[in-house]
């Protein structure tokens, strides 16, 4: 398996507050990595550093051997290869579902309008929302919005998908439909880094689970290792609270 993401000594400070304190991590092509941990442990900040929505204070991040943390690279080009799904969906309120998905491929000249539309309809079919193509985001439920958001990110054919607590803002009955789409995506071999509180999802789908606390990776391993036999005290304490 080839290497998709490499993180070396990643640090992030907000003033005197140290949010990330030297993270090292390698993610291989096709791997699904779930990041778990208490709130404030830096999980989301870590994820947002990978596509530079957050600027790292120190350390290096490589995606496809291109250094994201290098100020001189064309970050827009790099981001085209990295899809991101947000906790709050963030669908463009001024566009229909179809336009949301078509916007980036068309604007970035990846596809013609016709190609982008065909691709969008195919993706909507995949997430089970073909009938919502001409609706506006405000007319959709949270679960539907998040599935559209996944389709929108996939429209650029990214090689890596980042999920920032994708089900945390959803009503409980809608969590399943979003996780189902993510499961299928994982099964198709997408490289995924998922910050989540869904322990069931992490256990079933992840190749590797990372436990973060206080800006560090405290422990990592297969789901069986982390959930079945955690070694670190912090991990044990956290899991005893959430399981």
């Amino acid at each position: 398996m080839s290497e998709k993401v490499r993180v070396i000594g990643l640090e992030k400070h907000f003033g005197s507050l140290i949010v990330l304190d030297g993270i090292d991590l390698t993610v291989n092509e096709g791997e699904v990595v779930c990041v778990i941990g208490p709130s404030g442990s830096g999980k989301s900040t870590f994820l947002r550093c990978i596509n530079r929505l957050e600027k790292a204070t120190g350390g290096h991040i490589f995606v496809d051997e291109e250094e994201i943390t290098n100020k001189k690279i064309n970050i827009n080009k790099a981001r085209e290869e990295i899809g991101m799904v947000f906790q709050q969906f963030n669908l463009f309120a001024n566009y229909t579902v179809l336009q949301n998905i078509m916007l980036a491929p068309v604007e970035l000249k990846r596809m013609t309008k016709a190609e982008a539309k065909a691709k969008a309809m195919e993706l909507l079919d995949r997430v089970g929302l073909s009938d919502k193509a001409n609706n506006y985001p405000s007319q959709l439920s949270g679960g539907q919005q998040q599935r559209v958001a996944i389709a929108r990110a996939l429209a650029m054919n990214p090689g890596l998908m980042l999920f920032d607590e994708p089900t945390s803002a959803l009503d409980p009955e809608m969590v399943g439909e979003v996780l189902q789409v993510m499961k299928e995506l994982a099964a198709q071999g997408m490289t995924m880094i998922v910050v989540t509180h869904e322990m069931g999802f992490a256990r079933d789908v992840a190749d590797r689970v990372i436990f973060m606390a206080d800006g560090n990776i405290v422990e990592q391993g297969t789901p069986a290792e982390i959930f079945g036999n955690p070694q670190n005290e912090r991990t044990k304490e956290f899991l005893s609270c959430v399981l």
């Binding site: 790099a78 981001r79 990295i82 991101m84 916007l103 609706n135 007319q139 990110a153 650029m156």
Partner: protein, 223 residues
Amino acid sequence: MNLNFTRVLNDTLPLLLEGTKTTIGIALISIFAGLLVGFVSCLMGMSKNPVLKSISKAYVWIIRGTPMIVQAFFVFYAIPQFFPGVTPSPYVSGFVTLTLNAGAYLSEIIRGGIQAVPVGQTEAARSLGLSAFKTKIKVVLPQAFKIAIPSMVNQFIITVKDTSILSVISLNEIVNNAKKGIGMNYRFFETYIVVAIFYLVIISALMILSMYIEKRMNNERKG
């Protein structure tokens, strides 16, 4: 007291209609120019360049911090004294004053609209690889304008009414022409009733137009 609207209308109506043309004309071009000035000022104010930022802030501060009547006097009387040879007509002075005035307020209104668009919209667009510029044009500004429309309409109404202040620099708009009529017949009461009705009609038309536009935009949203 005897009311004599017939006399007033006979004396004043042609003057008022003439003044209405001037009022609507100068208000319209000032609103359009003010939108442009406001938009540019807003972008300057939100840019990272400290010089552009300061220019925008100073402009908004000066306009908001001084009465429009002073601004009008400044453009019409003070500038020609300082630059002999530059003698703008009341119409040009009025246009400049109204534009600068509306521009400053619209600059703040548009800024408020942009800031009201959730930051997640920008993050989502940037995460897809769109540039900061494309994100503004395609995602942020359309939403910002929609948010800002009610406040902008409010500013347009104020601009229409502010044309009356330009009577002090002898612009022949509604109020100034009404005064000329009063000079003939001393009918203050009837004249200003009629003047008030003129403004009410103009502003009402503007409000109906804006309600129509807002409704259309909302229907569009519903698909």
